[in-house]
Amino acid sequence: MLHEWLYIGIFLTIALAIPAIALTIAGILSPKKPNPIKNSTYECGMETVGVSWIQFKVQYYIYGLVFLVFDVETVLLYPWAVAYNKVPLYGVLEGILFVFILASGLIYVWRKGALEWV
């Protein structure tokens, strides 16, 4: 088990290293002639007005919220799905109850109109 995670760790390190090395090589090869106009932020030829941060609408948060809840609930269903072949019928029914609770949440959000992108 641990050596499997070691492999994943090594793989991740290499996966991070390959683009990093490529970027470094390109950084060495590439010319460096900065000037203030080139380095200005790309905003339709205008100076950046204010901080780059602007207000976002709450819809992003709502999607994130629904996603979070669904993600957590689904992840909890994975142990159930792994054991699916071994659990008796009532165990499957429990999983179904779980899915129904999940679905009722979706219906609530839908009826509330929180899923509309306006």
Binding site: Y61, L68, A83
Partner: protein
């Protein structure tokens, strides 16, 4: 000192450093990004404990969902970031003292605990997969109730959060 111990110490230092940065960073986005690094470190700790499922779930839920939600929320409330001011309230020194005492107390309380010397035994292949967990979660003799209650808790949280956060259209008129 074996390789895995060195790995643990490096990882622990990364976690603690990023946790400190999370708590002290002035910019909330930076705090959230340091928080993500701390979470990834914690996922590595889980993997070292051979709790593979929880390591992945940590990345999936915390990094993939909670951290993104937090960043969304920071963006939504960004005008009040107060970058220039001190990030702490005036009780910070007293709190530092209290937290130090708590930390020392925690160490002292686990110092002479008899079970501290327990060692690990290799896990059975059944425990490495989450099959047994899944069986236990649906067994009414064991954890079927907590399993369903968690879903109700999440449902309640979602309904509550949507109710609070959703902008009601008719309000403006």
């Amino acid at each position: 000192m074996t390789g895995i111990q060195i790995l643990f110490i490096v990882n622990a230092l990364v976690i603690i450093f990023s946790a400190v940065m999370t708590v002290t960073a002035r910019h909330m986005i930076h705090a959230a990004l340091w928080f993500v690094l701390a979470l990834l470190g914690v996922a590595v700790v889980y993997a070292m404990l051979e709790a593979g499922f929880f390591a992945v779930v940590q990345v999936l839920i915390y990094v993939g969902a909670i951290a993104i939600l937090i960043i969304f929320a920071v963006m939504l409330t960004r005008r009040a970031l107060e970058d220039q001011e001190k990030p702490f309230n005036r009780a910070s020194l007293v709190t530092l003292l209290i937290v130090g005492i708590v930390f020392v107390g925690l160490i002292l309380s686990i110092r002479f605990w008899p079970l501290l010397q327990s060692t690990t035994v290799p896990l059975s292949p059944d425990q490495l997969t989450v099959g047994t967990l899944g069986l236990a979660l649906t067994d009414p003799q064991q954890f079927a109730l907590p399993f369903e209650v968690t879903s109700i808790l999440l449902l309640a949280a979602m309904i509550g959060a949507i109710y609070i956060a959703h902008e009601r259209k008719e309000k403006g008129k």
